[in-house]
């Protein structure tokens, strides 16, 4: 630990710390442009010059390029260093346009700050300013190249950190131009981060352009709800409109960055059709009144048919408060449920996964970056949880081997090995990998008896494709030498056995190497919490509704009509109901169908809310504003509004938890529902996984805590690892419903900016299979599904498993005709409709 003095203050820092970082630890912010903690030092801008007075380095040097060393005495305020820095600012301002008044970075601009703090005020350069033409960079990033100070951050992030190569530096000298080969949308789903990184106004947030200065905005720490990773955000609202989201640093989760789905998905909160008023039947009603009516009618049904005739269906996108309150309500009233997942099989997979996590096993995204061998089983990171791909890239940059075992034509922005096998073969691949990674003696000799027994049970039939088999074994041999392996596994498209199998293999690796990690992806931002609440027993509301036992359904922030794969069955079930009560903030089909509707707030409005990400981390979202219909929508462009009201227009929605609590009170009044504080006590009694909650202080809740148990709920090896999951009937294809980065995720699909960039809906077949069927990419095909026909455009790929057909759950595709469980499809169910466009 070198010890040095900076501005007369002493500090010890770990070996390898740069002086600029050491100063930061003392609270001294040395001016900088090119240095960024996530990107590291570059030494290009020369802004961070300080004077080294004593020690191994002497004179004015860049603090980002010099490692802290014993005996260094550093001055950041030495006149020589200050004068040099003043020149750097002056140079950077030679060509910078003085357009701060109309620049969206104004007030949020490092260049502005450092120009002011450096004392540069008078322009001495009399030459002409260099000018550039801007490029169209897509719907998210606005380009204003004249403002560029060539700090390199955008390119370093875009190419080196994120691994995309359609944006970079062209030309030379002071004509250097950051942009694309030709105008067009940036291809990286992480492109929005260059907005946060740009120290001035070259790259600004396009959708929020000209919507307000930073100081005008209602800003606050929030969370991303667009997948289960739980990335941290800063949200900004103005005039009741959510206008912008930026990444917020979290050391263990997202680092400094987020993906574009997280950055632009928030627009659902401003959806023009967002239901902001309570409704009874077709009639708008005040929320209190609608709530009373709901209580009354639910009470009647309960009286008439018994408590089990009422059921509750929640989702994984609700806050822990709302989920907990719904649970409490069901218990209190004796209702059925709640069910939190669209399908029972998905609930089982998620519960299996969550039950396997403990502190010794789970790894964070940050830990993942330090792994040296990563097996991605049944996951397509860029499509499902984009920030996972960015973490994988960092691991690969540090030398990790990344192997993907997945039927889809998975693309990752890094070097990786892809083994396209069908979902039914993933377990086997994991077995084979395990076996190849361990010699016989090591396997039996070194392992503790349980692990050895498990190892002994692994089956090892060969894969059909000998080439794949060989590649897998080669990977396994590579795994032999690795010290920090991690298995990543999704719970979405895999067999029910797979999440548990991934955990078993991770434990086996741990037993072998002393260290190994497990990283799951779950369906939704609060799927972990929902899985804990759902407990061990199975709820299958759909079946109960079909049988007619359920007469009233309370649907909370959930859209079964959008998410349930068997819509025909769902509609039949809904027809059996006497009452459908809906609570939501989305203009969903289910909300529209509800006889009584109660509007809820989004994560950005009114009250604090909490979510548990896929590795069991409880995190808090702070409300940014009170909500209400955005002024721009109320006034239709004219402002201020001409009618004056004493309430916020569209301000009626309330947090789901509060509405449920009032509903509970109106239903019985006894016992009183838990208040916000008590809810944690209640939850901690509900499940061991929540046991920490009771003792947490408000500040701990604010910072977020890892709720993982020390020992997993399911610490035993799963039995019979050799058991083979169901195989498709010969000659049939397995239809896989999958996610896409844009266009399938529920909240984001209501966000206008994302709708502009979503991929087209399509059906994906292996190139050879399509050729065999006489189909060509680009053709419209009719897909005959159990629930009817779907028309979709065909795409083909070579690098996918041969026996599957892949279809995204696209918002513009009627995929809800597939039915539950694995869907086997005779190839003749895919028919050509038209020639390719």
């Amino acid at each position: 630990m070198p010890t040095l003095r900076i501005d007369q203050r002493e500090i010890s820092v770990p070996q390898g710390t740069k002086v600029i970082e050491a100063a930061e630890k003392l609270g001294i912010m040395i001016p900088r442009f090119c240095y960024h903690p996530a990107l590291g030092s570059l030494g290009a801008c020369r802004m961070c010059a300080v004077k080294f007075m004593e020690g191994p380095v002497k004179g004015v040097e860049m603090s980002c390029m010099v490692e802290a060393a014993d005996g260094m005495v550093v001055s950041t305020t030495d006149p020589e260093a200050m004068e040099f820095r003043r020149y750097v600012i002056e140079w950077l301002m030679l060509n910078h346009p003085h357009d701060c008044p109309i620049c969206d970075a104004g007030g949020q601009c490092l260049l502005q700050d450092e120009t002011v703090s450096g004392g540069h005020g008078l322009r001495r350069y009399q030459g002409l300013k260099r000018t550039f033409e801007d490029q169209y960079l897509g719907e998210f990033v606005q380009h204003e190249m004249n403002r560029c100070i060539h700090c390199w951050r955008c390119r370093r992030f875009y190419q080196e950190f994120a691994g995309y190569f359609d944006y970079g530096a062209m030309q030379i000298g002071n004509r250097m131009y950051f942009g694309r080969f030709a105008p067009g949308p940036l291809e990286s789903p992480f492109a929005g981060n260059i907005i946060d990184l740009c120290p001035t106004g070259v790259l600004t947030d396009k959708p929020s352009r000209y919507k307000g200065r930073r100081w005008d905005l209602q800003r606050g720490p929030s969370l991303c709800l667009h997948c289960s990773l739980g990335c941290n955000l800063v949200g900004s609202a103005r005039y009741r409109e959510m206008i912008r989201v930026e990444a917020r640093f979290h050391g263990a989760v997202n680092g400094y960055f987020i993906c574009d789905r997280g950055r632009y998905g928030f627009a659902y909160a401003n959806h023009p059709d967002r239901p902001r008023q309570a409704r009874v039947g077709e009639e708008a009603a005040p929320l209190d009144q609608a709530l009373k009516t709901a209580a009354q009618r639910l009470g009647q049904i309960r009286e008439r048919y018994g408590p089990g005739a009422v059921a509750a269906w929640g989702s994984t996108r609700s806050s822990l408060e709302t989920l907990g309150m719904l649970q409490w309500l069901c218990q209190d009233q004796g209702w059925r449920g709640p069910q939190f997942f669209p399908q029972a099989s998905l609930a089982r997979r998620v519960k299996a996964a969550v039950a396997r996590l403990d502190t010794g096993m789970a790894v964070s995204l940050r830990d993942l970056e330090n792994a040296d061998f990563i097996v991605v089983a049944g996951a397509d990171p860029v499509q499902e949880a984009p920030m996972l791909a960015l973490a994988l890239r960092q691991a690969a940059r540090r030398g990790a081997t990344v192997a993907v075992i997945d039927p889809r034509p998975v693309f990752l922005p890094l070097e990786y090995e892809h083994l396209p096998v069908s979902p039914g073969d993933i377990d086997l691949c994991l077995n084979l990998l395990s076996q190849a990674a361990r010699s016989e003696e090591a396997a039996t000799g070194k392992l503790e008896p349980d692990a050895a027994r498990f190892y002994g049970l692994l089956t090892s039939t060969n894969l059909e494709d000998p080439l794949l088999q060989e590649r897998l074994l080669a990977l396994g041999r590579k795994l032999q030498d690795c010290l920090r392996p991690v298995i990543v596994c999704n719970t979405d498209m895999v067999r029910e056995t797979t999440p548990a199998r991934a955990a078993d293999q991770a434990r086996l690796l741990q037993a072998d190497k002393g260290q190994a990690g497990l990283f799951y992806l779950l369906p939704g931002p609060n799927a972990y919490g929902a899985a804990l609440l759902a407990g061990r027993e199975e709820v299958d509301l759909l079946a109960a509704m079909e049988q007619g036992g359920v007469k009233a359904l309370v649907v909370v922030e959930n859209d079964p009509l959008g998410s349930c794969p068997d819509q025909e069955r769902l509609l039949r079930a809904l027809d059996n109901l006497e009452l459908l009560v809906g609570l939501d903030y989305l203009p969903s089909a289910t909300a529209a169908r509800s006889q009584i509707f109660l509007p809820t707030t989004t994560v950005f409005e009114k009250e604090f809310s909490h979510f548990i990400n896929q590795e069991g981390r409880l995190q808090q979202a702070v409300p940014l504003h009170q909500g209400g219909t955005p002024i721009i929508q109320v006034g239709q462009g004219s402002h201020p509004p001409r009618t004056f009201l004493d309430a916020i227009p569209g301000g009626e929605p309330r947090p789901g938890a509060g509405i449920l609590a009032d509903l509970a009170a109106a239903l019985s009044g006894e016992p009183a529902p838990p208040t916000a504080g008590d809810l944690w006590d209640y939850l901690s009694g509900e499940h061991e996984g929540f046991s920490q909650l009771a003792s947490l202080t408000a500040s701990a809740l604010g910072e977020g805590v890892h709720l993982l148990p020390a020992e997993a709920q399911e610490p035993a090896w799963s039995p019979e690892p050799g058991e083979k999951p169901p195989e498709p009937p010969a000659g049939q294809l397995e239809l896989l419903l999958v996610d896409q980065t844009f266009g399938t995720e529920e909240l984001g699909s209501y966000a206008a900016p994302l709708q502009k960039v979503e991929e087209e809906p399509h059906l994906l077949l292996h190139t050879d299979l399509a050729a065999d069927l006489g189909l060509a990419p680009g053709e419209q095909v009719a897909l005959l599904l159990p629930g009817g026909e779907v028309t979709v455009r065909l795409q083909t790929a070579q690098n996918m498993a041969p026996g599957v057909a892949i279809m995204p759950r696209h918002r513009r595709l009627h995929w809800q005709k597939t039915g539950d469980g694995p869907v086997w499809l005779p190839p003749e169910n895919i028919k050509k409709l038209s020639e390719p466009l």
């Binding site: 190569f165 359609d166 944006y167 970079g168 530096a169 062209m170 030309q171 030379i172 131009y177 694309r180 080969f181 030709a182």
Partner: protein
């Protein structure tokens, strides 16, 4: 789809395949394509990218960096007039001006007959023969108007497409 003649396509593909690291061929490939297309056109950038498994942007990052890669159309002969300080000492820019006037072009432009482009150029390493210029890889030194006229005349007459760096 590539618009290159198949033989050239194969030849270049082989050149790339033979390299220890394909990327070390990027400048060579650009030279060949530049020769084929007359300059490093957008199409040439895309061809190079396809051959080298790079993105067009990555090729563009290099193509626009270098002096001898021409991203705009040039004449059959590209005249690099040395503006190094030694040549400057002997003519203070007049060789350049003379050529531009004579050929009716400005820097980077193409003469009406499509034959010539004039570019100012970093010291060519021919200071012992200052003032100097380089045309399609061939040096001409001790320049004066008469000598320049004669050179242009000769080039017009016996057009040959000499070397790689054009």
């Amino acid at each position: 789809m590539s618009t290159l003649p198949p033989e050239l396509q194969t030849e270049l593909a082989q050149q790339v395949a033979a390299a220890d690291h394909p990327r070390e061929q990027v400048i060579n490939i650009m030279y060949v394509l530049q020769k084929h297309y007359g300059y490093m056109s957008d199409e040439a950038v895309e061809e190079a990218a396809a051959l080298l498994d790079m993105t067009p942007l990555e090729v563009e990052e290099l193509a626009t960096f270098y002096d001898f890669i021409y991203r705009e159309a040039v004449g059959k002969f590209v005249i690099h007039v040395c503006d190094g300080v030694v040549c400057w000492m002997f003519h203070e820019g007049s060789v350049f001006d003379y050529l531009c006037e004579k050929l009716g072009v400005c820097a980077g432009g193409v003469s009406a007959d499509g034959m010539f482009t004039v570019l100012p150029s970093a010291c060519l390493g021919f200071c012992d023969h200052a003032p100097a210029m380089l045309i399609n890889g061939v040096f001409y030194g001790h320049l004066n108007p008469e000598k320049i006229d004669a050179i242009l005349e000769k080039l017009r007459r016996e057009y040959c497409d000499l070397v790689i760096c054009r």
